[in-house]
């Protein structure tokens, strides 16, 4: 630098390069220093001001950056406005964000720029700026709790550029759309045949409702090793993404080639910030996973009611039936639906597949964490917890911070009661990421597994406070209340969840169950049907509707619904390759089905259903008593006496069985006496 004579222009150019290099090397303070001098030297040239604003942004001086851009009146260019808006987003001034990003109708905008995405997609090199702008608008509306508008803008962002993954994540993770809408959105994305892998991946990330027919096939195709053609396509499309990734990490510095006012690099730092700002975005998927498992404890918490029972028994209607079924029903909880009857979804799926999608080989993404997470969710959906746990555990061993694998992992650990593992994992998470909602959610799961519902509630609530959009934490919060029979608070939690995540059926179902518990059958029915509409394949929904119809005295309907529930269980068990008949979760449905059939006077059918339930849970005293009761009603007093004895052997204080045993014995004696008399008579 001995020669001071180099012209000011050259000087400025070298400073610009230096600033870019500092950003690339994460020396943000240095970058700010030199960029500041640079603007003074060049007398606030637009490009240099932008560079300075960028350095402010990466060094977290958001307000300063926004003020700088505004002071210099550089709000004409969309890129400048976008950066300023990003800054306001960082400091949470969402109204400012919306004011900056001149509002419009998403549809108009999409129409007016319809050629832009085509160009971007053709080049395949960068995310279209309007798409990023739409994404930011969506975030602003979401933060302002205008979820409908947020969803619209996210969709617009995606249709402007299907590579804008964050928009899709926001839509999916925050459950802003119903299952059908999600699928329609993904199918409608302008993705060429060369991007089939991305289409597949997007589809697999959608909610797993109604997808039995195609999900397996899609996942298999994603996981299968590459054919050369497919590999080339993935690599070609992934290359820009990879660049972006790197640039993101490098704080946009990698784009230095674009010169001082970096045209190409503009969006990248924002992407980085966005990521940092919403670390949990990727984590909030799949609430379905997280909840439930309400506890068998409810069995203890709902006391037997001898008086009612006796009365009911006399009338031939054990009131206990519904309670038992309902109680038991809460055990099996909203597993995501497996699927029967999803054939309907399959057809449109293949029809809409871009380019007929007949790529012979796979995409070779089998080891990718995202694909593993999709597979794990799918397994969890089908209630195959053991496999899901094993799969995610392996993935987490490879990469302990793979946040997208954590929710299914935690949920399956909870379903399997792996308390000790949950404990260690939660401790690690809380130690390393005390600010992440997922960490506290994990602690909540541990307490759920340990059956400390009070503590679970505290931690779920902490998770929701850290991240309002954490669907599983909200649902877990509701479940923790429900586990303690705190219906009002549970309802409040479920209601919030249902409002925040309109595409999700679990909170609706949970609300229905609470109303049902509170004997508000009308509301419960409406909610169950709403849940059924959202997710027709959840056996629990069908089960709950069946029990509800039973309580309403519509036994034929109840029987039909319960059979539907069992069919869903069976479909799931069948696809799971596990035990036949749908496993332990089906027991409650079988029991309720038996009760309904008994009411209809179909005693053999009832007994068959009870026997099915006994095959799953052989030591349930109430089931034995129910078998006995059905036998007694069908006139087999001797068989009834036998079964009542079994029931009383299992639970000696069962007043219903005691009383009915007396009845049955009397009947038996009378019959024997009658026979004897007949015998004597002849």
């Amino acid at each position: 630098m001995g020669a001071p004579a180099a012209g000011p222009a050259a000087h400025a150019a070298s400073l610009r390069a230096l600033v870019q290099d500092c950003i690339a090397k994460h020396l943000y303070g240095t970058a700010v220093f030199f960029a500041d001098k640079l603007v003074s030297l060049t007398d606030y040239g637009a490009g240099d001001v932008f560079l300075l604003a960028q350095t402010y942004y990466v060094s977290h001086q958001f307000r300063r950056a926004a003020m700088l851009l505004r002071q210099h009146g550089l709000m004409e260019d969309v890129r400048f406005r976008y950066l300023a808006a990003k800054c306001f987003a960082e400091v949470g001034e969402w109204d400012e964000v919306l004011a900056l990003l001149a509002d419009g109708e998403p549809d108009d905008l999409a129409a007016s720029q319809s050629d832009a995405p085509a160009a971007a997609a053709a080049a395949g090199r960068e995310i279209a700026t309007p798409s990023a702008v739409c994404l930011l608008r969506g975030r602003a509306y979401e933060a302002l709790d205008n979820r409908a508008a947020a969803a619209q803008w996210y969709r617009a962002a995606l249709s402007l550029d299907p590579f804008c993954e964050e928009a899709l994540s926001a839509l999916l993770d925050h459950h802003l759309l119903t299952n059908a809408e999600e699928l329609a959105l993904v199918d409608g994305l302008p993705l060429g045949p060369e991007h089939r892998w991305l289409w597949l991946l997007y589809r697999c990330r959608c909610k797993k409702y109604n997808q039995a027919a195609c999900m397996e096939q899609q996942l298999a195709e994603l996981e299968a090793p590459c054919s050369s053609g497919a590999a080339a396509a993935v690599a070609a499309a992934a290359a820009p993404a990879g660049d972006g990734d790197f640039a993101r990490r490098a704080g946009a510095g990698a784009a230095g080639a674009a010169g001082g006012a970096g045209t190409a690099g503009v969006l990248q730092p924002s992407a980085q910030r966005q990521q940092a700002a919403t670390p949990s975005a990727a984590q909030q998927r799949r609430q379905q996973l997280s909840h439930q498992r309400q506890p068998p404890s409810q069995q203890q918490s709902q006391p037997q009611q001898p008086a009612t029972q006796r009365k009911a028994a006399a009338a031939g209607t054990p009131a206990r039936d519904t309670r038992t079924a309902r109680r038991a029903g809460t055990k099996q909880q909203p597993q995501p639906p497996g699927a029967a009857a999803a054939g309907a979804a399959a057809a449109p799926a293949s029809a809409l597949a871009p380019a007929g999608g007949a790529s012979p080989g796979g995409c070779g993404l089998g080891s990718n964490t995202g694909v593993v997470a999709c597979r794990a969710e799918w397994l969890h959906h089908q209630g195959r917890h053991e496999e899901c746990y094993a799969l995610t555990e392996r993935a987490l061993e490879r990469d302990p911070y793979a946040t997208e694998c954590l929710p299914p992992h935690l949920a399956s650990a909870l379903a399997l009661g792996r308390k000790n593992e949950l404990f260690l994992r939660s401790h690690q998470l809380v130690e390393e990421y005390p600010d992440s909602a997922l960490s506290w959610f994990s602690v909540g799961c541990y307490y759920m597994a340990a059956r400390h519902f009070e503590a679970a509630r505290r931690h779920f609530s902490k998770a929701t406070a850290l991240d309002r959009n954490s669907a599983h934490a909200w649902v877990g919060f509701g479940h923790a209340f429900a586990a303690q029979d705190e219906s009002d608070q549970a309802l409040a939690a479920y209601r919030t969840a249902a409002r925040l995540f309109p595409g999700l059926h679990t909170p609706v179902l949970g609300m229905g169950m609470e109303y049902s518990r509170m004997n508000n059958l009308g509301l419960a029915e409406r909610l169950f049907h709403a849940a059924h509409k959202l997710c027709p394949e959840d056996p629990l929904v069908a089960h709950e509707i069946g029990v509800l119809e039973y309580r309403n005295g519509r036994y034929a309907l109840a029987e039909r619904w319960l059979r539907t529930a069992l069919a869903h269980h069976a479909a799931r068990g069948g696809s799971g390759g596990g035990g036949g008949g749908g496993g332990p979760a089906a027991e409650a449905s079988l029991l309720a089905l038996g009760h309904a059939r008994r009411k209809l006077g179909d005693y053999p059918g009832a007994i068959e259903a009870y026997r099915g339930a006994l095959a799953i849970a052989p030591n349930a005293a109430s089931t034995h008593a129910a078998v006995a009761f059905a036998l007694q009603l069908s006139g087999d007093a001797a068989g009834a006496v036998r079964e009542y004895h079994v029931a009383l052997g299992l639970r000696p204080d069962d007043t219903f069985a005691q009383e009915m045993l007396g009845e049955a014995l009397r009947e038996e004696c009378e019959r024997a006496a009658g026979e004897a008399e007949d015998g004597l008579g002849f």
């Binding site: 000790n420 404990f423 260690l424």
Partner: protein
């Protein structure tokens, strides 16, 4: 590679022999080493193994022996001994047994009979001890069968058979004839180096390196393992590590070597390295309990509450009635008590020290000669300000093994608390020795 194959054949045969004789712990050790051999070792050992299998097939065990072994495995020792009375040459038919010389069914039966008798006596002794004395009571009872075992083994066969030699060594230990015991045990180990039980018994008889040096030991890899274990026991940790290195070259994948190395690092207060080794071990064998008490001590010292809790739950799920498990759980409660003083994430911390004591006590009920449980119980009593009980516990620890400085130190500390500086000084000094 040929050496590895030879070791493979030797250990496979030893595993079968030891299992046949009911020396399960030694068989476990042999198989652990077997699994630690380099992967190619099995290939070259095929023909060696075939010869051995043929020999065994040619000389099948008589049915009574099989029945006795089944009873033995089922812990019905007296019954097993009685069944074998007809098979094994008794003390008066010594000449007859002498012909059969070393191996073969008679020697096997003789050993199993004597060993059954010995264990039956141990069972009785344990039962008596529990009945007669409280935990801290000093009532000692002797093995009532020692005389019978001695008489049984007083024959020619028992002079040659390495296993009988081992058992005679055990009897000599119980009788307090240490020199005799050392002679018998080293003869047994020389004749059959794969019997780790003999080495271990020998280990307990070596209070210092000089005694160790004077022992006539065979030139065998088991000798290296023994010397490593002895150095570890005598707190010559650096030497132990270098000897372990030698063994590790022969058995690169052996868990035993890893565990011993971890213990050495632990004794050298090299906690990071020890922790890494223990974690390795747990990753390979998550239900392992042996040696995990040392790991729990490390976690305790580092106040890694989550990891310690995880470990405690894990061993409790594996087998909660092992002395090591109880010790780990005791450590867990103790740390919980300490953590409770600082922060309160779990609530309800009263009485955690008492629970810790209870678990250490349980560990000691399961194994009275479990030294570190005595020491840790002493520490807990200090926390509970129960100085007399603490002193008693530390003294018991010292009685088990006077080489542990922690117990001496604890004793010194307790006397210091009691305001008896001369006593304290004396015990601190002992700790330094």
């Amino acid at each position: 590679m040929a050496d590895a194959a030879a070791r493979f054949a030797e250990l496979s045969a030893a595993a079968a022999e030891l299992t046949d004789r009911g020396l399960t712990a030694a068989a476990k050790w042999a198989t652990e080493m077997l699994c630690g051999l380099p992967p190619g070792a099995a290939a070259g050992a095929a023909e060696l193994l075939a010869v051995d299998a043929a020999a065994r097939a040619a000389d099948p065990d008589p049915p009574t022996l099989l029945l006795a072994r089944a009873c033995f495995s089922d812990r019905e020792y007296a019954r097993a001994a009685h069944l074998l009375a007809h098979l094994a040459p008794g003390p008066h038919s010594g000449a007859l047994g002498g012909k059969a010389a070393a191996a073969g069914a008679p020697a096997k039966a003789l050993f199993l009979r004597a060993y059954s008798l010995y264990l039956a006596g141990e069972q009785r002794r344990e039962a008596d001890r529990v009945q007669k004395s409280g935990l801290l009571g000093a009532a000692q009872s002797a093995n009532p069968q020692l005389g019978a075992v001695e008489a049984l083994l007083d024959c020619r066969t028992a002079e040659v058979d390495p296993f009988c030699l081992y058992l005679r060594g055990l009897v000599a230990v119980d009788r307090g004839r240490d020199d005799d015991a050392r002679r018998l045990l080293s003869a047994s180990a020389s004749a059959y180096p794969c019997n780790w039980a003999a080495w271990q018994a020998l280990l307990a008889l070596c209070p210092d390196l000089d005694t160790l040096g004077a022992l006539p030991l065979p030139a065998h890899w088991a000798r290296d393992a023994f010397l490593a274990a002895a150095c570890l026991e005598l707190q010559h940790n650096a030497e132990a590590l270098s000897r372990l290195q030698v063994v590790n070259q022969l058995f690169p994948g052996s868990d035993w070597v890893t565990a011993a190395a971890a213990a050495a690092h632990y004794s050298m207060r090299n906690f990071e390295e020890a922790q890494r080794l223990y974690e390795d071990l747990l990753a390979r064998d998550p239900h392992r309990i042996e040696g995990m008490d040392a790991y729990s001590n490390i976690l305790y010292v580092k106040e890694a509450f989550a990891a310690l809790s995880h470990l405690a739950h894990r061993v409790a799920a594996s087998d909660r009635y092992r002395p090591e498990s109880c010790c780990i759980i005791g450590n867990y409660y103790s740390l919980k008590a300490r953590a409770g003083a600082i922060c309160c994430p779990f609530g309800g911390f009263a009485g955690q020290h008492e629970r810790a004591v209870e678990y250490f006590r349980r560990a000691l009920r399961l194994s009275r000669r479990y030294q570190s449980a005595w020491t840790l119980m002493g520490h807990e009593y200090v926390e509970l300000k129960n100085a007399p009980a603490a002193i008693d516990a530390y003294r018991q620890a010292i009685e088990v093994s006077p080489r542990d400085y922690r117990a001496w130190y604890g004793l010194g500390q307790t006397y210091e608390l009691l305001g008896m500086p001369y006593y304290a000084l004396h015990y601190y000094r002992r700790g330094i020795d």
